[in-house]
């Protein structure tokens, strides 16, 4: 086979191969003791850029091989995965090759997830994306916390918790897969509608909901997001969550199983749990973890509505746009914590006066997370709610609206502490590195500006065909 033909054969897998080469490159750099932050960042960016280029050059026309396929959702979600990981990759301090390697490995898993053409591939890629993430949580604890793999470290504890939750979800998935196999005799996405098969899909959907962190499978989420470095939490709450959402959508899309009718209720329940639990939080990173839980609820609700409306790729726009905007909002908010080192409410006090630009950025992000017009968060939430309305899910929608209102209380508190309260924080605000600052600023700009430009939606629609 000549090289050109070989390239064409391999091109559909180009994105996976690029990321794999990135993993290898970082590993070799580690072996030859050539570690520096810049090199790792360059290798990571290069493989990510190549992967993105391959994904977008890929025609979205269905089957590639027995295990892989590509459709518009594949491309859209790969975009979300890469965008969610990009801030962490360019702003992280890579003193050691292992975390970078894990990050790229996890992205490789996500890429395969988006491309997978049957349930077995879906499971393998799910594990490939999850295992590195557990280790990442253990290896990159929040600032000022003990580091290392030993009991007693909060990050280690969180990683173990995450790992067990993940293992249970994997067990659910495998059990479902086994049921599916015995019901249909294969691993294809399509189900045959029998009771056993319905059960199979329900079990697999539970695994996806575990991954997303929907209530009542959310107990691991706040601990993990709080123990990890804020930048990593940004990655967890965007790319990894998007992977869970993608799984849920794929499972429902082909099977039309009965679990779909439960999703709106689960989504609304998640939003309510998140809003009420967040009211009492004093530590900001934990608060943002609960905020992320609330957004998971919106997404599950949106997926439920999407599935009820026939699960066409065109209609996936609200969820896609929501995830894409959430990449900015969540990463921006977590990076703000990284940048300033604030950890509690009182650290925010008076920030509006002492650091007006930073405070403005965080205020814009908070309002966007809350979904107040005219921010990007509003536009995203609005599209999802509209789809939920179209699907006729009035009761979950009203519950979700009230949960949004309850959540507004703590988002407003951010603004209140920064602008309205007397006094100035005594703790020192750290300056942070330029890259982190840039990411916070860009995310805030996206959040503040995109709400004014509803016509960019047509660009998103074009990705989905």
């Amino acid at each position: 086979m000549n090289p050109a033909a070989l390239f064409l054969r391999l091109a559909p897998m180009g994105s996976g191969i690029s990321l794999f080469c990135g993993v290898l490159g970082v590993a070799f750099a580690g072996i030859f003791k050539k570690i520096n932050s810049g090199l790792i960042r360059a290798l990571g960016l290069l493989s990510l850029a190549l992967a993105a280029a391959f994904v977008f050059a890929q025609p979205a026309n269905g089957s590639i091989s027995a295990l892989l396929q590509a459709d518009p959702m594949t491309k859209a979600w790969c975009g979300v995965f890469y965008a969610g990981a990009l801030p962490f990759l360019i702003a992280g301090t890579w003193e050691d090759e292992v975390p970078a390697l894990l990050l790229l490995g996890s992205l490789l898993g996500m890429t395969l997830l988006a491309f997978s053409a049957n349930l077995l591939m879906l499971f393998i890629s799910l594990e490939l994306l999850s295992l590195p993430v557990y280790l990442l949580v253990a290896l990159t604890p929040a600032k000022g916390r003990p580091k290392g793999l030993s009991f007693g470290c909060p990050s280690w504890e969180a990683a173990i918790k995450y790992f067990f939750a993940g293992s249970v979800s994997a067990a659910f998935f495998l059990l479902g897969l086994a049921c599916h196999y015995s019901a249909t005799g294969g691993f294809a996405f399509a189900g045959n509608g029998s009771f056993l098969d319905q059960t199979a899909f329900t079990l697999m959907a539970v695994a996806a909901l575990f991954k997303i962190g929907a209530a009542p499978w959310h107990f691991w989420l706040p601990d993990v997001y709080e123990a990890a470095e804020p930048m990593l939490s940004g990655f967890l709450s965007t790319s990894v969550k998007a992977a869970g959402v993608f799984m849920l959508m794929r499972l429902g899309q082909y099977s039309q199983a009965s679990f779909i009718s439960l999703l709106p209720a689960i989504g609304a329940l998640t939003m309510i749990v998140a809003a009420l639990a967040a009211l009492n939080q004093t530590r900001l990173q934990r608060l943002l973890a609960y905020s992320s839980l609330g957004h998971a609820g919106v997404l599950v609700l949106g997926v439920g509505a999407w599935l009820l409306l026939g699960a066409s790729e065109k209609n996936a726009l609200p969820i896609f746009f929501y995830l894409f905007s959430y990449v900015f909002m969540s990463n921006g908010a977590f990076f703000f914590l990284e940048l300033t080192g604030v950890s509690e409410w009182r650290d925010l006090r008076g920030l509006g006066k002492t650091r007006p630009v930073l405070a403005f950025c965080f205020a814009a992000l908070a309002l966007s997370l809350a979904g107040i017009p005219p921010t990007a968060g509003f536009l995203a939430k609005f599209l999802v709610f509209w789809q939920v309305f179209k699907a006729g899910l009035y009761v979950p929608l009203i519950a979700a609206s009230l949960a949004t209102l309850a959540a507004l209380v703590y988002y407003l508190r951010i603004i209140r502490e920064m602008y309205l309260e007397e006094g100035v924080a005594t703790s020192k605000i750290e300056a942070g590195t330029g890259m982190v600052r840039l990411i916070v600023t860009l995310s805030a700009a996206y959040s503040a500006v995109v709400g004014f430009l509803p016509w960019i939606l047509s660009a998103f629609q074009r990705v989905l065909g």
Binding site: L408, I415, Y419, L420
Partner: protein
């Protein structure tokens, strides 16, 4: 293009104002120049409405996506409300002229002005909602940053209450849009063509969602509790805008979204809307009687006065609709003036209780004169503007439902019972032992000029309301049953 300029110009001006200190410019001057230019723009664009040469001014809509279209239009009613908005913003800025305030204060008012302009002009419900919500953020900061002692509580309460209402508004809008899609197969957000179903639970819930959504802003009685707090704690300029402009958007929503969406619901909706309005009139008036704080008193009187507006438009008669709409303008002028004067008192003494003053007429005769005229206008004395609006609203209502009209008439009477004693206690009565009246000096030139600007239209409308009625009449004409 001109209509886009209406809302975009103040917002761009707000950004300029916000960043002007960085270039060593005086924020208050920038904001004043922007507000004055905006007022000129609005006046200039709407000259055709005088004498009825122009029925409406619209921009061709541009469909963006999902049927959301960027379309704006202005008819007589919108123009008058835009004019009120631009005028009161200018007054509000000038009312705080002597205070030492940061650039954010001046910028907030301009931002708010732009958002309100958007609400009055948008024809597309998506943009209507965006502008509707955009009003929240600047007002939140105006109350929370520059208000009096209990400002943070009031600001949060204001935000949460209004957001609660907005969620219902959003549900109502979605209900209309989805119903339109089900019946025609097309997506549209145009408030001129969206209709609710004729009957059924879906229709009732949609109606209720809009009543709650708009009712929070008006405010209708069970959901009004944010208003007294917000008014009391807001700075004087904030109260002027809050009462003068922001309360109007709720009634405007009734006129532009709710009533057109339910074209045949006149009689069905009358007991509800009219009843709520009558409760507002009586409840607001009775609550005002019990207040010992001037700002709270005026806040409750606003609730009563907005009740008259809803009363008028709920009747769906020619007089009622025109009177209710005119009353929007009247209330903006009188209540704006009242808050302005209480602001002057507060600036001088940092007090605003009824018991803190007495015998101000000997200290400040000019202030007494202006306050007196405004109080009489607010009560509805014939010859002043309040009378015209209230009389037309009530006579419209009397045509369709005498009991509700009679209740409303009682409201007019009670107004005299709370405004006159307050006027008497503060300006005419004995000087109380704890009074701070001696610290009050009379109005300076700027303050007099501002008050003349407000009082001349009050008298003019009272004596010759014809031109204004000719402008609002055709604009609300299609709602007559």
């Amino acid at each position: 293009m001109i209509l886009t300029l209406f809302w975009a110009f103040p917002i761009v001006g707000a950004l300029f104002t916000l960043f002007s200190p960085a270039f060593n410019l005086r924020a208050r001057w920038i904001s004043l120049i922007c507000a004055a230019m905006e007022l000129y723009l609005v006046l200039e664009a709407g000259t055709g409405f005088w004498g009825g040469h122009l029925a409406s001014l619209s921009e061709p809509g541009k469909i963006l996506t999902y049927g959301i279209s960027y379309s704006f239009s202005m008819d007589g009613l919108s123009w008058l409300l835009c004019l009120l908005n631009a005028f009161l913003t200018l007054i509000a800025l000038l009312s705080s002229w002597k205070q030492d305030l940061s650039a954010g204060f001046w910028a907030s008012f301009l931002f708010l002005e732009g958002a309100v302009m958007g609400v009055f002009l948008a024809q597309d419900l998506f943009f209507f909602y965006i502008f509707w919500e955009a009003m929240l953020i600047p007002m939140f900061f105006i109350i929370g940053l520059w208000g009096s002692e209990n400002r943070v509580h009031a600001a949060i309460k204001f935000f949460l209450f209004t957001f609660f209402g907005s969620l219902f508004l959003l549900l109502g809008i979605l209900a209309l849009v989805v119903f339109h899609h089900q019946t025609t197969g097309a997506w549209s957000w145009d408030m001129n063509i969206l209709r609710a179903p004729e009957s059924g639970l879906y229709a009732i819930l949609t109606f209720a969602a809009f009543v709650v959504g708009f009712g929070v802003k008006i405010p209708l009685v069970p959901i009004h509790t944010w208003l007294p707090d917000a008014h009391t704690e807001a700075p004087a300029a904030g109260s002027i805008i809050l009462a003068g402009v922001l309360l109007k958007v709720g009634v405007y929503g009734f006129l532009r979204v709710l009533l057109p969406a339910f074209p045949n619901w006149g009689m069905k909706a009358l007991p509800w809307l009219g009843g709520l309005a009558a409760i507002n009139v009586i409840y607001g008036a009775l609550s005002a009687m019990a207040q010992m704080d001037l700002k709270r008193l005026i806040a409750y009187s606003s609730i009563a006065h907005l009740g008259f507006c809803v009363l008028g438009i709920a009747s769906r008669t020619a007089q009622g609709l025109a009177g209710g709409s005119l009353q929007l303008i009247n209330h903006g002028l009188t209540t704006g003036a009242l808050f302005l004067m209480v602001g002057f008192l507060y600036e001088r003494t940092h007090k605003r209780g009824l018991a803190d003053f007495g015998d101000l007429v000997s200290q400040a005769p000019l202030l007494t004169f202006f306050f007196g005229v405004t109080v009489f206008a607010s009560i509805g004395l014939p010859g002043l503007n309040g009378f015209v609006g209230e009389f037309m609203s009530l006579s419209g209502m009397a045509k369709v439902s005498l009991p509700i009209a009679v209740v409303g008439v009682f409201g007019v009477t009670i107004a005299a019972f709370y405004l006159l004693p307050a006027f008497q206690a503060v300006f005419l009565g004995e000087r109380k032992p704890a009074s701070v009246s001696s610290r009050v000096f009379d109005l300076d030139f700027r303050e007099q000029a501002l008050l003349w600007l407000l009082i001349v239209p009050m008298i003019a409308i009272g004596l010759h309301p014809g031109p204004l009625l000719n402008i609002v009449g055709p604009a609300v004409g299609k709602l007559i049953l």
